[in-house]
């Protein structure tokens, strides 16, 4: 690794390494620089210019997210000039879309909204002219309203560089440019595999999770980190809870291995089963050939009686148990302890061979 050196940000002497950008060094040291198009783990495109900062002796403001640091660099992250430049960018973005926060699912968790507030913009100086695209509502998982798109390209990079699904791209030019699957296809008919990475990446309300629509405001949600119940990758997922109900699953780019915050369609959209009306809610006992509701006491009592008598009559090896690759370690441990220690047999296995 090349040697570290000093740079100055807002008058502070800070240590930096040559492969870092101004933004990275600033963030590492708790110095705030606003961003929009920057997305961790993807190419720094330097497209939106919201992150501009002043570098001494540079002719114009530079994009902090794309500019590598160099020895003795002197950086200013906030000034009237910088604010003016950022305001111009944000006002243009605001005016080019339909940013009606009243009904937007992202209200309260929108990076554009936050920037407008941060920069103290009352009104954009330009006329608001949304492009008038039809909304995409082809499926129950992801919905798109490109009238809110600020063309930051985060979804495109998330799809191509993080998931490498290679579905999304830009099409058209300038104000007519647009993000989406090739040939202007909708998600459902494209090659999209509904991983939802693009929705996690979108800073505004342009790509959102359909089931969570009107299901709870961002500030009312509690997030519980857990492990995906599907495949053996064991992705870390955030269950988003609203009033005791899970309304959506999100990834968190700050989580580390194994999945660095990315999910697939099963972890993301596969957990409706949790509050399916068919869930078992009470023990059942077969009475006259039919499974009938019973109390826990009755059920546990019957099992005890039956297992004890079968064990007494035919020995412990006449009883077998299947544990489960979907139960926790603690439960698998207890189950084999129960079969071995309480029943007295090694007839315990699980269905992973199948």
């Amino acid at each position: 690794m090349a040697e570290k050196f000093q740079i100055t940000i807002d008058g502070r002497e800070i240590e930096a390494s040559p492969e870092q950008t101004i933004l990275e060094v600033a963030r590492e040291n708790g110095i705030y620089i606003p961003t929009l198009c920057y997305y961790k783990g993807t190419t720094n495109v330097g497209a939106c210019r919201v992150c501009v900062v002043d570098v001494e002796n540079a002719r114009s403001l530079v994009a902090a997210c794309a500019m590598p640091v160099s020895p003795e660099m002197v950086v200013t992250t906030d000034s009237d000039r910088i604010r003016e430049a950022r305001k111009l960018v944000v006002e243009l973005l605001w005016a080019s879309g339909d940013h009606n926060c009243l009904t937007c699912e992202k209200n309260g968790n929108c990076e554009l909204q936050d920037l407008i507030y941060y920069l103290g913009i009352e009104q954009p100086r330009f006329t608001i002219e949304p492009p008038g695209y039809p909304k995409e509502d082809t499926n129950s998982m992801i919905q798109r309203d490109l009238n809110k798109c600020i063309l930051c390209g985060r979804c495109v990079r998330a799809c191509n560089e993080i998931q490498v699904n290679e579905v999304l791209d830009f099409s058209g030019r300038g104000s007519r440019s647009k993000v989406g699957p090739a040939f202007d296809m909708d998600y459902f008919s494209s090659d999209c595999v509904f991983c939802g990475e693009c929705a996690d990446a979108c800073p505004v309300g342009a790509i959102t999770f359909k089931q969570a629509r009107f299901a709870g405001r961002p500030w009312e949600l509690e997030k519980v980190r857990t492990t995906c119940p599907y495949c053996g990758v064991g992705c870390q997922i955030d269950l988003n809870i609203h009033k005791g109900k899970i309304i959506k699953v999100t990834g968190n780019r700050n989580y580390g291995n194994p999945n660095l915050g990315s999910l697939c369609v099963k972890g993301r959209f596969g957990i409706d089963f949790i509050d399916d009306p068919d869930r078992l809610t009470t023990p059942l006992i077969r009475k006259n050939g039919k499974l009938t509701e019973a109390s826990w006491e009755e059920a546990i009592g019957l099992i005890t009686e039956k297992l004890t008598s079968i064990k007494g009559e035919h020995g412990p090896d006449s009883i077998a148990g299947f544990s489960s690759a979907r139960c926790t370690n603690e439960e698998n441990y207890l189950f084999q302890k129960f079969m071995r220690g309480v029943i007295g047999t090694n007839n315990v296995d699980h269905c992973a061979r199948l």
């Binding site: 857990t226 089963f273 949790i274 869930r279 077969r286 439960e331 315990v348």
Partner: protein, 526 residues
């Protein structure tokens, strides 16, 4: 996995065989794709089907189903013949190389081409690509294990990796990708008929004494029956009662007709699950469980990482976490289990499972730890067999190719291969209740090659009948280039199309895994 998921992204060569990674382990699939697209790794795919990864592959070897050992032996034949193997590593860290060399000698590229249909030249290119890499990772899944020669297939993968010095280094390894979220943990915890937690043999006196002391009981030293041996034991009358926690064998067993007979013959069947599934319908007692989001605990992923599961919402009705149910039952049966939390159970596990001894809940609050993690200050183990194999020297197993147990003939001219699809999972209990997943994949489909479809007069979406010696099912046709000519692919997620009525219950003699990847069938337009 010997190695870690993260390493896949930064290795030089990835050899993926018998794994449809982008559908069955999508977030490992993303690592593979990033390795190729962003970090210059090379990818070799060995698979009869044109799976999603083929688009990213440098070399695709399309072997006939069930010829894996021949292909792997062929690779080793070339590597040894061209002197590309890791001589020093083989000399100093392995044994039985000569036996291997002798057996693979006859698997010349031409002979392998005859058996597998893989062009000799492609095989050579793949062998060189794998052998010349500084570090190369082998990934495999059910496409390797679900054969009656599954154990041989696995051994051949290990042979290849050892031959090129790829075990015990970062970015290398033989890496089985586990299908279900906690298969690794279930095995680690001793949910197996022959071992206690941490693979301590029940037949070993020291191990047994240790557990007898800790649990304060006397224990049997006779290994029990496997899942696949159970139905026969029931029909023979040796097994009278069965307790099933969180499984639905009526859907996943290789021969469901046979199993149903067995389950019906039982004196007593208990099912403990989150839904009343096909197996539960036959039970005498059904107990309602809490699901993963309603309880605390840990799962161990395919790279041996022990990670937290957290209670986020309440269980419906009076459903309870499985650990509580077992505790209550054990207590009632006269063996008190008084655990207040899952964490307390983990603390007991730690005292009896050396590889988990250092895994405390507080340490895995943020990121999980990879076992072996023997002490509380041990950082966990990113990859196994560093400097030395667990058993000392790595053992080569000379393995001969054995054809699949049932091959196509005049009456049953097609090969049926079964597996999973991206949008569904296992027996569908969870995934078929998800609106989005069902939208994407609403019903079972038979994947059939366009040429075969044309010959049989089958159109896209037409219902076709698939018959084997054991049964018959019908499903809609999906015409795709993915399966080769002469092979059809079906998934086992839909109970109304019980594919396991068709499959061959021929078991691998050691792994006791059924041959789900190859059986002979007849295909007709319905």
């Amino acid at each position: 996995m010997t190695n870690s998921i993260e390493e896949i992204e930064f290795t030089d060569v990835i050899l993926a065989t018998g794994t449809n990674t982008t559908e069955n382990h999508p977030m490992i699939g993303a690592r593979v794709k990033r390795a190729v697209r962003q970090h210059g790794a090379k990818l070799i795919v060995i698979d009869p089907r044109e799976i999603g990864l083929v688009k990213y592959a440098n070399i695709w070897l399309r072997q006939k189903p069930g010829t894996d050992v021949a292909v792997l032996n062929g690779l080793m034949n070339i590597i040894i013949g061209e002197n590309l193997y890791a001589k020093e590593y083989v000399d100093t860290r392995t044994e039985q190389f000569d036996a291997l060399k002798e057996v693979v000698a006859k698997y010349t590229p031409e002979y392998v081409e005859e058996i597998s249909g893989v062009p000799a030249e492609d095989l050579k290119r793949a062998a060189r690509m794998y052998a010349e890499a500084d570090k190369a990772a082998i990934l495999y899944a059910m496409g390797i294990t679900q054969h009656w020669t599954g154990t041989d297939n696995v051994k051949s993968c290990a042979n290849l990796a050892m031959l090129c010095g790829n075990i015990g280094i970062a970015g290398g390894g033989v890496n089985p990708l586990r299908g279900q979220n906690n298969v690794q943990g279930a095995c680690d915890m001793g949910a197996l008929p022959n071992v206690f937690p941490a693979y301590q043999q029940v037949a070993n006196d020291d191990a047994r004494t240790r557990f007898e002391k800790a649990w304060n009981v006397s224990l049997s030293g006779t290994p029990g029956l496997t899942v696949t041996e159970m139905p026969d034991a029931v029909l023979e009358g040796t097994i009278k009662a069965l307790y099933i926690m969180g499984e639905n064998p009526m859907m996943s067993d290789p021969d469901t007709t046979h199993l149903e007979k067995a389950l019906k013959k039982l004196d007593f069947l208990v099912c403990q699950d989150i839904f009343l599934n096909e197996t539960g319908e036959l039970a005498d007692v059904v107990l309602p469980s809490a699901c993963f989001a309603e309880k605390d605990g840990t799962y161990t992923n395919t790279e041996r990482r022990v990670q937290r599961v957290r209670k986020a919402v309440d269980a419906p009705g009076s459903a309870k976490p499985d650990w509580q149910i077992i505790s209550e039952l054990a207590t009632k049966m006269g063996y008190p289990m008084n655990y207040d939390s899952a964490e307390e159970i983990m603390n007991e596990i730690r005292t009896l499972t050396p590889s988990y001894a250092g895994v405390t809940y507080s340490r895995i609050e943020e990121e999980g730890l990879q076992w072996p993690c023997p002490t509380e200050d041990h950082p966990g183990t990113q990859y196994l067999h560093k400097d030395q194999f667990t058993r000392g020297r790595g053992l080569f197993h000379a393995v001969e190719y054995i054809p699949p147990a049932e091959l196509p003939d005049e009456e049953y001219p097609f090969i049926l291969s079964t597996g999973r699809v991206l949008y569904q999972y296992h027996t569908g209990t969870m995934s078929r209740r998800a609106k989005g997943l069902v939208e994407r994949f609403p019903e079972s489909l038979v994947e059939i090659n366009p040429d075969d479809a044309r010959k049989l007069g089958i159109n896209e979406g037409a219902t076709i009948e698939v018959t084997s010696r054991r049964g018959k099912v019908a499903a809609k046709a999906k015409i795709t280039k993915s399966p080769p000519q002469g092979t059809i692919f079906m998934n086992f997620h839909f109970s109304e199309v019980a594919v396991n009525k068709l499959t061959n219950p021929a078991l691998d003699p050691i792994g006791k895994i059924p041959e789900y990847k190859v059986c002979a069938v007849k295909v007709e337009a319905a």
